[in-house]
């Protein structure tokens, strides 16, 4: 196994990629997929492997410059011979090239890359960009060539990493390309009017059974790909059942609290949980209900992507406080779901009665729940995910 050097990806793939894997990053136009290929190459070079980049989209100098902006010194590896370029870009622009290999026309590409693969046994080759090859050579020819390269990679124990931009090709072609790879990683956008985030997800891998987890990431210079775990806020008035809710939705949780010595144990600091549900990962923060902790609400509210507001359905006198907390968490601006807890107790108001009393708009789902029994908890999660990602 070889590491990918992409955070979280190795876990999902069961430890990394097999040595001679063919891996494709299939990116929606607009997401930064080059960074994935470059980060893998740099990690492998640092580990002492050899590697090459075939480029038909940027000159070697530009790519070396990009590496620098990520804080990775490619020049060093170019100079000591551990890395080299197959330059399929400069000749098309009429520019001189100092690369080890240059490709002046596409008919020579197949053979030159075969040689490049032989030069990096046990190493790694990055193909940037596969879409451009398809556009020049056509589907059938490209798929034939990919298969040959992948076989050659197997023979020389070389990992081949393809960067593919999913323009509006017909799905048949995309499927065929995917089937020629050991592993496909989809790189997507998360949009709400404009792209607000990017995520990656393993579509398939021949050596493991990856979970269908969508990992949110951003690309920073310097640094490369950083994984981003969104926060979800759980708030509501005193004694509404927030801590229990956090425990219920979390894979694991801790209560950073000191139980107050009274008839009602209550959280006086934070409940922290970690959620992994239907491929969505998030950290959960439950805030205390008392007013003296309202400063926390403001801080956490700013950083959260969504919120659960928990209310005690039998205590309409606390609804005013719940509304105030929504305001203080700035939850007005983020998607939120109201959880109408304690539906099993006598005198519990129905979701519609609560909506009316709180004067809440229809855009906020109200989910009836009995959190202590786990009832309504997954409905609430589904409702928030629906708001965040659409159905």
């Amino acid at each position: 196994m070889k590491k990918t050097y992409i955070p979280k990806l190795d876990d999902i793939l069961g430890g990394g990629i097999i040595d001679n894997a063919s891996v494709m990053f299939s990116a929606v136009p607009g997401v930064d997929s080059e960074a994935f290929g470059y980060q893998m190459l740099h990690g492998r070079l640092k580990d002492g492997d050899k590697g090459f980049i075939y480029t038909n989209v940027a000159e070697p100098e530009t790519i070396t410059y990009e590496f620098n902006s990520y804080g990775w010194d490619l020049q060093k590896f170019l100079e000591n011979g551990d890395a080299f370029f197959v330059d399929g870009s400069s000749p098309f622009l009429g520019l001189p090239s100092t690369a080890k290999y240059t490709i002046e026309d596409y008919s020579k590409m197949e053979k030159v890359i075969m040689e490049a693969i032989e030069d990096v046994p046990d190493g790694i080759g990055v193909i940037n960009n596969l879409s451009t090859i398809i556009d020049y050579l056509g589907e059938d020819e490209t798929i034939k060539i990919i298969k040959k390269w992948n076989l050659h990679g197997k023979k020389h124990n070389t990992s081949l990493i393809y960067l593919f931009t999913k323009w509006d090709y017909n799905t048949g072609l995309v499927e065929k390309v995917k089937r020629s790879m050991d592993c496909v990683i989809e790189v997507k956008t998360i949009e709400e009017r404009v792209i607000i985030g990017q995520g990656f997800m393993v579509a398939h891998s021949s050596w493991s059974k990856p979970s269908n987890t969508m990992v949110l990431f951003f690309v920073v210079q310097p640094g490369g790909i950083k994984v981003y775990i969104p926060k979800i806020l759980v708030t509501g008035p005193y004694n509404a059942g927030k801590s229990t809710f956090v425990k219920r939705i979390s894979k694991r949780s801790v209560s950073v609290d000191r139980k107050a010595l009274s008839a009602f144990p209550t959280t006086i600091a934070l409940d922290i949980g970690h959620l992994e549900y239907k491929g969505f990962i998030a950290d959960i923060f439950g805030t205390p209900g008392q007013e003296r902790f309202d400063l926390l609400l403001d801080v956490l509210g700013r950083e959260s992507v969504g919120a659960f507001i928990i209310v005690d359905s039998t205590a309409p006198e606390t609804f005013g406080r719940a509304k105030e907390m929504i305001r203080k968490t700035r939850a007005e601006a983020i998607p939120k779901v109201l959880v109408a807890n304690k539906q099993d107790l006598s005198g519990a108001l129905s979701p519609e009665e609560i909506r009316e009393k709180m004067k809440l708009g229809k855009d906020i789902p109200i989910i009836p729940a009995i959190v202590t029994e786990g009832k309504g908890v997954t409905d609430a999660l589904d409702a928030l995910l629906g708001l965040l990602y659409g159905d």
């Binding site: 607009g30 530009t62 960009n129 879409s131 451009t132 931009t165 323009w167």
Partner: protein, 230 residues
């Protein structure tokens, strides 16, 4: 009701018969014609009109680098300097011609033969713009240059994504293309995926297609103050 925005070309808005503007908001207009008939000048005026009402412009320049672009614009006496913070540029040419360009927040270097990267920069720029304005203008000048460096069909795909991104984020755009530079099939595809089509031939401007309007032809001139429709 169709909301129209000012084109920035004196005389053009009046042709459509609306006082406030001629280009339907949140649509994409193809401006095409032979070389040197004023397609880029049309774009400058469109962008400049937006700046005057504090609308940002996202300009994808494949023909001229930042410095040359600013020079050609200032030749008409327009002061882009004051509007720099609203002038978002994806410069797809300077890096391949080896020019050093000053770096600033709303300047995105890219490369004509890396459409994938152009789309990444487009996303970054739109995110910046969306955080401060609900409406903006965009220019893609020109498709012809992108086609010279890439497969023509790929550029049709790129244009499709560009149009989708601009529309979903509330922008109004102009794209330019030099008549006859691509295969006629490709040319027809370009015309099919835009909303409005304006043809320039050096003397006459023809609105071949426009949301909510019929075909109209008028004479135009390029003066030292830019393009004027008579």
């Amino acid at each position: 009701m169709i909301v129209r925005i000012a084109s920035g070309i004196p005389g053009l808005d009046e042709l459509i018969g609306e006082e406030r503007g001629s280009l339907a908001e949140n649509t994409v207009t193809l401006v095409y014609g032979p070389p040197k008939v004023g397609k880029s000048i049309f774009c400058y005026q469109f962008a400049y009109e937006g700046f005057r009402s504090d609308e940002p412009c996202l300009y994808i320049s494949a023909d001229y680098g930042l410095n040359e672009l600013e020079r050609s614009i200032s030749n008409f006496g327009w002061k882009f300097d004051e509007y720099r913070e609203n002038f978002y540029i994806i410069d797809a040419i300077s890096t391949i011609s080896g020019l050093e360009v000053e770096s600033r927040d709303n300047y995105f270097p890219s490369s004509v033969h890396n459409p994938t990267d152009i789309m990444v920069k487009l996303g970054m720029a739109i995110r910046q713009i969306a955080s401060k304005s609900h409406r903006f203008r965009s220019v893609l000048d020109s498709l012809t240059t992108l086609m010279a460096f890439n497969d023509e069909l790929l550029i049709v795909r790129v244009l499709t994504v560009y149009i989708m991104r601009i529309k979903e984020s509330g922008g109004t755009a102009i794209v330019t293309y030099t008549e006859g530079s691509a295969d006629s099939k490709v040319e027809n595809m370009l015309k099919a995926i835009v909303d409005n089509i304006i043809h320039l031939d050096g003397e006459k401007l023809t609105i071949e297609a426009m949301v909510g309007s019929g075909k109209i032809t008028a004479s135009y001139n390029i003066t030292s103050n830019g393009m004027i429709v008579e």
